[in-house]
Amino acid sequence: MKTINRLLDFRSYKFKIITLSIISSLSLESCSKAPNRVNLGDEKYASDSNLPSGNNGDGAGTVNLTRNVSVHRLNNREYNATVRDLLQTALQPADNFPTDTIGSHFDNEGGSLSISPTLAKYYFTAAISLSEEITQANLSKYTSCTVATDTACLTKFIQTFGARAWRRPLEAAEVTALATVSQAAAAGGSAALLDYVRQTVFQLLLSPNFVFRVELDANPANPAQRKLNAYELASRLSYFLWSSMPDAALFAAAADGSILTDAGLQAHAKRMLEDSKAVSLVKGFGSIWLHTDKVRRTNLDPGLFPKFTPKVREAMAVETESFIADFLKNDVDVSEMLTADFSFMNDELAAYYGLPLPNSATHVRVEVQDVPRQGVLSHGSFLTATSAATRTSIVRRGAHVLETFLCSPKLDLPAGLVVEPLPDKAATDKTVRQTLADHVALPACAGCHLIIDPPGFAMEAFGADGLRRTKDGVNPVDSTGSYKGTPFADVMDFRTLLQKDQIFRTCVAKKVIAYGLGRALGSADEAVALALDQSNKAAGGSLHSLITKFILSTTFRSR
């Protein structure tokens, strides 16, 4: 016991030497070789056969979440945006739908999106409500036809409107089927045309061709990789950048095939990224990637942290959202998110951080000259949401960095381990870090914790409330640690090490790939992500350039 305690005395010089040699033999291997582990830094691939848990071994009906599904349900955000763009409606029916779950990375993953009877009922009533927004007064907005007897006109209406609703030209048989149903609904008299149009819209919205993005394979039993056709590509592109359907210009590029060319695809990607609808990347990609919503539900002990008010909390969420919005547009290398000397604050937040006020009630860009405060790791949204109510959590902050910036697998506890709780902190004068050290003294725990904890150590300079501190209780804070064998003295050192880690860069690329394709990643995607990052780094390394390069890749243009 004594030996272990000495080994884990972080302040001893001897320990530093011992640790460095132990790490190479103990840490990565013990965290990976023990049962049910994978190498740290590699994503856990659902398609790999060494799935440890939850598999009864019968193998029947195993679902692979890393494949490109053929029927990819719109998620709630996409449903709302699509009906907004298709019908110019103010209705947001999906606000009432059951909240989508989050898959391996995001909430747009095809393998994770299903239709329950409840959701189907909501699709049904939404389709009715949306179709009933069409009235005699606004009918001309939807069709130029004037009478229900003008078959040629109505056929054209179904073809045109249907092509937008289903995001591809309709087959003749489909048009006929729609027309037959609509015609039957058209009662006589002045309402006939209205009934016809409403019934058409109702059908189009309820259809699987609306609620799913469909990508069929010629031989579904044994699908071969193929290039997407023009309409499939257009949809994949618009749902990536806008969480919505293609616009008229993009449909035109699908119709004439120009979307399939490098020049055409690049031009549309560029204009769509610059369009205001690209704000969906902040909500669907950036916010989920950086977990910005979590701070909105973070409750710290108000007795200990009275300044952490709901307004401050909200301001922290907006800070990180604005920050990622900027990085989606700016031209700096994406790794500078970790060290950026700017952020976005309002007076409330700047005052909270103890920084100069920008004299604005709304968030504006501010220079951050306080060096430890620079970069997204020092955002309040991250620091507070990863804390317990009364104290910091080194493990949670470490795990958050691993998952968010290193695409680490969600690590497994050793099987059969009895997790001893941290002793009552009130009973000791020790810092959280010291208490943790006692806790992870067991070799079975040390292996993974030597990897999880260091980012948390670096962040110890910030309290649970996200504010700078030099003491944890009565003892000084210790922000030193070791990242993959290299020691760091403080959060600035740590950031730099993380920034230089290729695994971090590759992880950012992986996040873009996962979101762009709307699926979990498999082992085959590892090389794609690495190549994408390397190519982008040479071109300046910005996030929008990473996105554009990915769009131009074979992976994005194929299935």
Partner: protein, 446 residues
């Protein structure tokens, strides 16, 4: 069930809480049918809580009916004869507990070991709903008090579905619950006091059916072009639309029952401020009672919190600052005492629903409490140890041949699937041969 065809169901709107209640069945049924229905449980409430319990404050010291009520069970004291607390039922089907919360949650009502790829098995109340849930406007409802979206825990089952869902329609169809009280109210309780004539209603129904038919046809065409890994997605939609088609044209307005006011704006969206939680809980619990009272459905699953909840209880009278999951791993006398207080609070919320059901008459002089089997449980037994053996379970109300009023210890080897089979067969009289993976026989003693 024979229905008196002369009965016309009317709905009273806007008389919050003061309308006269007509028991649905008695007015709708013939005398023979009433006699048949008497004293039979026909409703299920599955009430789920998370992060385990303090076993020493949960489990009574002795078996039988003369035990002293423990701290966490105390809110049920007045109903002592009407519930049983069950010990020694375990999740035996899951061998690898790495993702303990996911397994505990997804396995609780399904009695299976959940698999990667968003897979579990049909949940117990869905089995019942599919068999006997067709008489109400909605076969079942899945509700939850989920405060926002989040990714969850470690291991292969890291998709948040596993911790956010307890009801499953089949192996691949999780029934994502609803947690927005205003949306729930608008969808199920605001009613359509339609002024359409019978002719207009018939025309509307015909139009809807025709669209549903056309859509089903499109789905079949699409299904024929898909590989086996994708067809289940289309099947889910087809199954759902067929159900909707059966109900098109049916009167879905409710019988007379008190309509609550539309939930206020601050409870309409999922609250970020912990001080708003009690009001939110109150309205969600009211909606559960209302759904039963108005016979909108007879099968409700409810998640007080999702699996691995990081819920805060920092409101009066608890005023506990640490969140639930942290407390469950905290250890020490102080943390344990706080956990027990929270768990007793959750039991009090459960008891409040039971109390409300006791005040709603059902047929033949019984109450809805008597004709509802209410089960209270938790994803884990020990939150700190991530254990799923000897899970906390309470069975209340009921009817059928369930043994209530006792602390019952199941024999060794009793899996959750055995427990649910017992509920379904001995409680609801469904006569099923099995349930879940290990549920091939009912448990003794319940």
């Amino acid at each position: 069930m024979k229905i008196n065809k002369n009965f016309s169901r009317r709905q009273f709107l806007g008389t919050s809480g003061t309308a006269i209640i007509l028991p649905f069945l008695e007015s709708m049924m013939t005398r023979e049918a009433i006699a048949q229905e008497a004293n039979k449980a026909k409703r299920m409430l599955c009430y789920f809580t998370s992060c385990g319990v303090m076993m020493d404050k949960w489990k009574p010291a002795i078996l039988g009916d003369a035990y002293t009520m423990t701290q966490i069970l105390q809110p049920l004291e007045s109903m002592r004869k009407d519930f049983s607390v069950i010990s020694n039922v375990s999740n035996l089907v899951s061998k690898d507990l790495v993702s303990a919360h996911s397994i505990g949650t997804a396995g609780w009502l399904t009695g299976v070991d959940p698999k990667p790829g968003i897979q579990a098995g049909i949940s117990a109340e869905q089995v019942a709903a599919q068999k006997i849930g067709g008489m109400t406007p909605y076969r079942s409802l899945q509700l939850s008090q989920r405060l926002g979206n989040r990714a969850t825990e470690i291991g292969a089952l890291s998709d948040s579905t596993y911790c956010d869902v307890i009801s499953w329609a089949d192996t691949k169809t999780p029934l994502i619950p609803q947690s927005n009280p205003r949306a729930i109210f608008d969808t199920y309780f605001s009613g359509t006091n339609s002024n359409d004539s019978e002719k207009e209603k018939a025309e509307r129904a015909a139009r809807q059916k025709s669209v549903l038919d056309a859509t089903l046809s499109q789905l079949q065409t699409l299904k024929n072009k898909l590989g086996k890994d994708d067809t289940y997605k289309v099947d889910q939609y087809m199954t759902a639309l067929r159900e909707i088609e059966k109900d098109v044209g049916k009167v879905t307005s409710m019988t007379t029952c008190p309509i609550i006011d539309r939930p206020e704006a601050e409870t309409a969206s999922l609250p970020g401020m912990v001080s708003a939680y009690p009001a939110y809980y109150a309205v969600m619990h009211k909606l559960i009672v209302l759904a039963f009272q108005c016979d909108m459905t007879r099968f409700i699953s409810f998640m007080f919190s999702p699996g691995r909840s990081e819920r805060s209880f920092n409101f009066a009278p608890l005023n506990i600052v640490e969140n639930m999951h942290d407390l469950s791993h905290g250890g020490g006398a102080d943390n344990n005492a706080k956990q027990a207080l929270i768990q007793a609070y959750e039991m009090k919320m459960f008891a409040s629903i039971l109390q409300s059901l006791k005040e709603i008459p059902d047929i033949n002089g019984s109450t809805m409490f008597d004709t509802t089997i209410s089960v209270y449980g938790n994803e884990l037994s020990s939150g700190g140890g991530h254990t799923v053996s000897d899970l906390p379970l309470v069975v209340a109300g009921g009817g059928g041949s369930l043994k209530l009023g006792h602390h019952i210890k199941a024999e060794n080897g009793t899996d959750l699937a055995n427990f649910w089979l017992t509920i379904l067969n001995n409680g609801l009289g469904l006569g099923l041969p099995s349930f879940g993976t290990l549920g091939t026989k009912v448990m003794a003693g319940l």
